[in-house]
């Protein structure tokens, strides 16, 4: 039982009795980019009702003394496969690919709130995530959705918040990928003036075997400002992507962008936010020869909005380690925190989450030490103002195998 820390016990007593909770004297990183300061946060119901110093509380408020522990908004992964991929190598546990739909493939209805990745990432501080379709040969993979990671069967989140796609090295020419992308965007333009059925009868739509859902998604992309996350790396491809944004008025976000430093001025002028993995400095393809650890610093110094992906599946909380490395190589600390929280919320219009500001939803993590140190860990986690247990399959297995009782392990539970 040693694993059930004091934090665990406090959380459950909180859950039962308290009407409001005061997080007193934490080092608050608001997620907005402002410098951290010691503040109190009052949680009433699902919201942050007050934030400041010496807040007035009534007798029914549970007070948690933080003594300067770091507090951040709950982390938001901007690109995950949480809830739709249980085990990568087992196709029967994957819901991230479609054989029929392309741009209009929505993963929303596949989301499994009981997936083991959810408590694991939640206990590591990720309180919500954008879950995106897996990559495919087609330049648009489909539609990502946003999910609150409270594990509830009453799924909370937002359906189809962004389109995901990719441009760069493949078995065909990137010139063809670009041409197909443009053609799709043109179909999207037509969708505002032509019925879906007529577009489907167009030669290109037939050739690409598009479905009604694809056309609707393209319409949202071109005419309704649906965010479009396009993965691309080579400097000249980034310029092509910037040109696409201008030509079609896209709400474009670029991901990976390993050669962005070579076109930093154009990228800055384009106002495009980016999603990067700051630890990936491997020239893993001939598109990424400029890959380096100073990517985050250069983007940050140019004032570009930055969010963070992770190299591997299942551990989206490792964006903390990634952004920590970015800070070690010159990114500002508050940009790193903001990149894991408020920048994601703003970029993808995720509503009232992502920052520690009065009136926002109380998705909050209190850390045992600097959240950018990989060795740090959450002490308290709140989603919608509700305390969350730090339990996961991993903690259950750890308890079982550190229990020195002589019984067979299957009787330790």
């Amino acid at each position: 039982m040693k694993y059930l820390s004091l934090a665990f016990v406090i959380i459950f007593s909180l859950n039962t009795f308290a009407q409001s909770i005061l997080l007193k004297g934490g080092m608050v990183h608001s997620g907005t980019g402002a410098s951290a300061k010691i503040q109190d946060i009052l949680i009433s119901g699902s919201k942050i009702s007050s934030i400041g110093n010496d807040l007035i509380i009534n007798g029914k408020t549970q007070v948690i003394e933080l003594n300067g522990l770091p507090v951040t908004p709950g982390l938001i992964s901007p690109m995950s496969n949480l809830g739709i991929v249980e085990i990568n190598a087992l196709d029967v546990t994957r819901d991230d690919e479609s054989d029929i739909l392309k741009a209009g493939f929505s993963i929303f209805n596949a989301f499994n709130p009981h997936s083991t990745g959810i408590p694991w990432n939640r206990s590591n501080g990720v309180t919500s995530a954008i879950t995106s379709p897996g990559s495919s040969d087609f330049p648009m993979f489909g539609l990502a959705s946003y999910f609150i990671l409270d594990g509830s069967l009453e799924i909370k989140g937002l359906r189809d918040v962004a389109m995901f796609g990719r441009m760069g090295s493949s078995y065909g020419s990137r010139a063809e990928t670009l041409a197909v992308l443009e053609s799709l965007l043109e179909l999207g333009q037509k969708a505002s003036i032509m019925p879906v059925e007529e577009i489907l009868e167009m030669r290109l739509a037939e050739q690409l075997e598009l479905q009604a859902q694809d056309i609707i998604a393209l319409n949202n992309l071109v005419n309704n400002d649906l965010p479009f996350v396009l993965e691309t790396n080579r400097a000249v491809d980034i310029l092509q992507a910037i040109a696409l944004k201008k030509k079609y008025g896209l709400n474009l976000i670029l991901s990976s962008v390993e050669e962005a430093p070579m076109v930093i001025n154009q990228l800055k002028a384009s106002n495009i936010p980016v999603i990067i993995d700051p630890m990936d400095n491997i020239p893993d393809s001939f598109d990424e020869l400029g890959s380096s650890l100073i990517l985050g610093k250069i983007l940050d110094q140019a004032g570009i909005k930055i969010m963070f992906s992770t190299q591997r599946s299942h551990n989206y909380h490792l964006m903390r380690q990634g952004s920590g490395n970015a800070v070690a190589y010159g990114m500002s600390y508050e940009s790193a925190i903001r990149g894991m929280t408020n920048t994601v919320a703003e970029t993808f219009n995720l509503g009232n989450r992502g920052s520690l500001v009065k009136g926002k939803i109380a998705d909050i993590v209190v850390w045992d030490a600097d959240p950018l140190e990989p060795s740090s860990f959450p002490k308290f986690i709140f989603i919608d103002g509700k305390p969350q247990a730090l339990t996961s399959r991993s903690t259950r297995l750890t308890e079982r195998y550190t229990d020195k009782d002589d019984k067979p392990s299957s009787y330790k539970h």
Binding site: K2, Y3, S5, E86, I87, N88, A89, L90, T116, G117, M262, M279, D280, N281, I282, P283, D284, S285, F286, E288, L289, G290, S291, S292, Q311, R312, S313, H314, N315, L318, Q321, G324, N325, V327, A328, L372, E373, P374, S375, S376, F377, R393, S394, T395, L397, T398, Y401, T402, S409
Partner: protein, 461 residues
């Protein structure tokens, strides 16, 4: 008596070599003379690190100590050491650790860029390919070597992949880019043999409708190979060379394991499979040096400690396949603490990004262990990326700790090596500065990096 037997051996060898057709046993003997290390340390000057904080890699820590290295070796550790005639580096408020060692790397055999033409790590054409040697695939211009060096990695063990039951021999390298493989090989380091359990071999061959397609098929495949190897080993002891079997590269490797010259590095995730591999090693009388990946090692931690087998693990990878489903972040700590702290835990990378941050991976594993109720210090956790991997690679006598007489493979860190904000400021290999963060001239640039984006520039500086 000893002299006589030496003389006899010498005569036998001379006789064998004088024959036109070399006998099998002398050929085996001589095979060790080929592809050997030609590594030479770079030029170095005697260097004194003043007032450093030191993790010695064996669990010890020293605050405000001096360290003297010269002629490629660690000469003295003490306070107020004589600084006359040596280069002095002010190391106050900085940390010194042994050079970081990765026991599981595919650098050079899966080089960057990761394209089909540089995919040289799995000879996935038959389940038993003990005849192949990873070093014969290594591309010396892999840009990943230099990136690992910036992360403090001074030695690494390159293994074949895990498609096969027996994937081939692994070899250990000093992290100095040269343009021949032999010039990078760690002098006198033993070969390893890569074995693989579980999903990979049964998937690769099962998909081709051949054995193994199941875990029991895996076991039968290992046992059949060891039966052949035992017979080969016995056959090679025949006094009359005509009675010996024809030389066989795969059998040479397996025989090397049975003879105790080649170390087993065994890719294995699940607890019961690792226990089964231990039983297999007893059936054929060989030793397993380390289980690799070992996601479920924590379930059999006492067994591994009792058998003296190391486990090389990730801090937190999981979920990418079924046998990696039961991950616990305390795995490394549980192995370390087994049987009153006699377990051998290693943090490995198996990854070109992870190898650059093994210090951070160890930090995660340490804090997860402490959350699970252990009391593991930083000095102790440093063993997981220095002396323990050195032990598993068979190079602990030469490197892996800050001890007088050892190779001067050391890293000077800008701060606490377990912090994300600390970086390797200087990396020394055999006493020579292999990397200096403040001096571009002391940062290796491979042929690949040179002029590839812009003819006037190098790829990254």
């Amino acid at each position: 008596m000893r002299n006589i037997s030496h003389l006899t051996l010498l005569l036998l060898l001379t006789a064998a070599c004088s024959e036109m057709n070399m006998s099998p046993s002398s050929a085996v003997q001589n095979s060790n003379d080929y592809f050997g290390s030609t590594y030479e340390p770079m030029e170095s000057e005697p260097t004194l690190f003043q007032s450093a904080n030191i993790y010695d890699g064996l669990g010890g820590e020293l605050f405000d100590y001096d360290l003297l290295i010269a002629d490629g070796k660690i000469i003295e550790i003490g306070q107020s050491l004589d600084q006359s005639g040596v280069k002095v580096i002010d190391a106050s408020d900085k940390w010194i650790t042994p050079g970081i060692i990765d026991i599981h790397s595919h650098m050079g055999v899966y080089s960057a860029p990761s394209v089909s033409t540089s995919s040289d790590g799995n000879e996935a054409t038959a389940p038993v390919t003990a005849e192949v040697w990873a070093e014969h695939s290594v591309w010396t211009q892999d840009p990943q070597f230099a990136l690992a060096l910036k992360g403090g990695v001074t030695s690494f063990h390159v293994l074949p992949g895990s498609a096969n039951l027996f994937g081939g021999r692994g070899a250990t390298f000093k992290n100095i880019s040269k343009n021949t493989i032999q010039a990078m090989k760690f002098p006198n380091a033993p070969h390893s043999l890569k074995m693989a359990c579980g999903e990979n071999p049964k998937r690769v061959y099962g998909n081709r409708r051949q054995s193994p397609s199941t875990r029991m098929g895996n076991m039968a495949g290992y046992r059949n190979a060891w039966i052949d190897a035992t017979e080969y080993q016995e056959g090679m002891q025949e006094l009359d060379s005509d009675d010996r079997p024809k030389r066989d590269l795969a059998m040479d490797t397996l025989k090397g394991v049975l003879d105790g010259d080649i170390l087993i590095q065994n890719h294995c995730y699940r607890a019961e499979e690792m226990a089964m591999m231990v039983e297999l090693s007893k059936e054929f009388d060989y030793k397993i040096t380390a289980f690799h990946h070992a996601v479920e090692a924590y379930k059999i931690a006492d067994l591994l400690a009792d058998e003296g087998i190391c486990a090389a693990m990730w801090a937190d990878w999981w979920g990418f396949k079924h046998e990696a489903y039961d991950m616990v972040p305390a795995n490394i700590a549980i192995i370390d603490q087994a049987r009153n702290g006699t377990g051998c835990a290693i943090v490995h990378s198996d990854d070109e990004v992870g190898i650059q941050h093994l210090n951070q991976e160890a930090a995660k594993a340490m804090s997860a262990g402490n959350r699970a109720g252990f009391e593991i210090s930083k000095a102790h956790a440093m063993r997981w990326i220095t002396s323990n991997p050195a032990k598993a690679a068979g190079i602990l006598e030469q490197t892996g700790s800050i001890e007088v007489g050892k190779d001067a493979d050391v890293v000077l860190w800008t701060g606490d090596p377990f912090s994300v904000y600390s970086r390797a400021e200087q990396v020394f290999i055999d006493g020579a500065v292999a990397f200096d963060v403040n001096d571009p001239k002391t940062q290796p640039v491979t042929d690949f990096d040179l002029g590839i984006i812009n003819p006037q520039a190098t790829r990254v500086q």
